[in-house]
Amino acid sequence: MSYLSLENVVKTFNKTEVVKKLSLDIQKGELVSFLGPSGCGKTTTLNMIAGFLEVDGGKIEVDGKPVHLLPPNKREMGMVFQNYALFPHMTVFDNVAYGLKLRKVPKSEISKRVFEALEMVRLAGYEKRYPKELSGGQQQRVSLARALVIKPKVLLLDEPLSNLDAKLRQEMREEIVDIQKQVGITTIFVTHDQEEALAISDRIAVMYEGRIEQVDDPASIYNHPKTDFVSQFIGEVNHIQGKVLETYENKKCKLHFFGNEQIVSVPSVKNSEVHFFIRPEKIQIALAGSNERNEAFQTRVERKMFLGAKTRYILKVHDRHLIADISNTVLNPTEIKEGNSVYTYWNPEDLLPSRMAR
């Protein structure tokens, strides 16, 4: 039995459906990310869950009870906003205490719970400050404390880290996950940052044009994308085509890539060409003469970019470009120069079949 469930939720703005019959079940205590490009409907969906937008169809249930007709102030959800949305005229203490005051919690308990919440976000001692006297990261922590102190049924995070700088963003996301696990609260995390989503989520719902393309755990999303959109949106991909030479039973076929033959399993073959995606880190290269493999084909190194732990090679083959990321511990980048010919190969299992033009 899922704790938070969306069933055929629809939202229409000016006759355009921005959320199209979206359904999703979230378990209690789970952290689910809504990941997608801007305009995919992820924030709209979050706002419908929070009650800031009315649903135009479908229903939303929390713990078996429908909530989509309740006003936002009756939904018992804690929300953390992208721009923190702290009350500028109240101190940190009053910001966090606000929800408790509305609930008529006795004063002594309010201060106890506010202190606990501030301690949890490591901001004890900041009670008397005003929001403008805090850094972005601290403001976001106050915002988190304010949302959690009321013990909401669901925690909603709307791109909470996008206004922070890179380093702080990483720290904060770990902190958010720690707190989320510690409290055990069902959480929805909206983000357009795939790395963030991959790092923190129990499951990711990849959204595109008002639909959920795939819901899965991060590894499955990355390694077994179910749609072309997911393949291309998560991580980077090279797009390659293979000519079908022979088809076998058990969904395998012999394909011809760049003057080289390989047997690959393919869900179904209808045309004479099959399209694949392959991630840059799944492409491997070797200097000509060394370690030659049957399935390797020759490419020319057009550019080489040192990226710290890895090096990115732009390879040219038959007027096509392939991007390969190779760990510097596997291949010393000084051994390969721009203009060199190299052998290029991959494992057939690493090819992600595309639904394009099949």
Partner: protein, 266 residues
Amino acid sequence: MSRKLPKYFFNFVCLLVYIFLLAPIVVVLLSSLTTTEYIVFPPEGLTLRWYTELIEHPEFMQSFTLSIIVAFGTAIIATAIGTLASLAVVRRQFKGKTAIVQLVGSPLLIPSVVFGVALLQFYSWIGLAASPLALILGHIILTVPFVMRLVVASLVGFDRSIEQAALNLGAGPMKVFFHITLPIIKSGVIAGAIFAFITSFDDLTVALFIVSTDVVTLPVRIYTYMQYQYDPIITSVSSIMILFTVVLMLIIERVLGVGKVFSSKN
């Protein structure tokens, strides 16, 4: 344009501006202390005689009280209307919004004499006699545009997710307004109220058309008195008006900080 003017030049210009602004007030204040039977500056001798003589003119005191009542009523009602109208104008999309904005702003464009004549016509048509209420109604029309200017300015750039945050924490719409929205736009609202109060307290042109023999605001009283007599009582009443405004400002400064009220928020 990077060449800076010397600091003392800047100070000097400021000084000139202040003198220009404050000199008439100083002249009025000082000439109210003259011992002569006529208004003269600089005053000849010093006396508070013209202030004590006011006691023999209770009509000034009556007018003063009336003016305060009218200004106070105007400020409260115009601020309430102006604030709510600003919220509607800034946040809602509705048919005829531009028309309403223009209409509300029109008293700023119409000469107050014309407005006074129009009010006179209208009041006699609906049979509304001269009364504090009639004055307040007229002044509300006159002052709502000021309030709206100031409140709209403080609402522009207002981050509405702050209100959403309060809703999310369980506050109903009324609580959101009084706990969150109003405190945040407070400076604009108070500035609007002060403008409304002073505009009403100060108004001569419009009031001239509405007053009757027993309902006379202070500016009208001063004006009519001057037509027949020109003695230092006028300056002493004017001085009291000035001092009253100064005291009012000081109180607001003490309670809220005028600097804060008139500067943009935060």
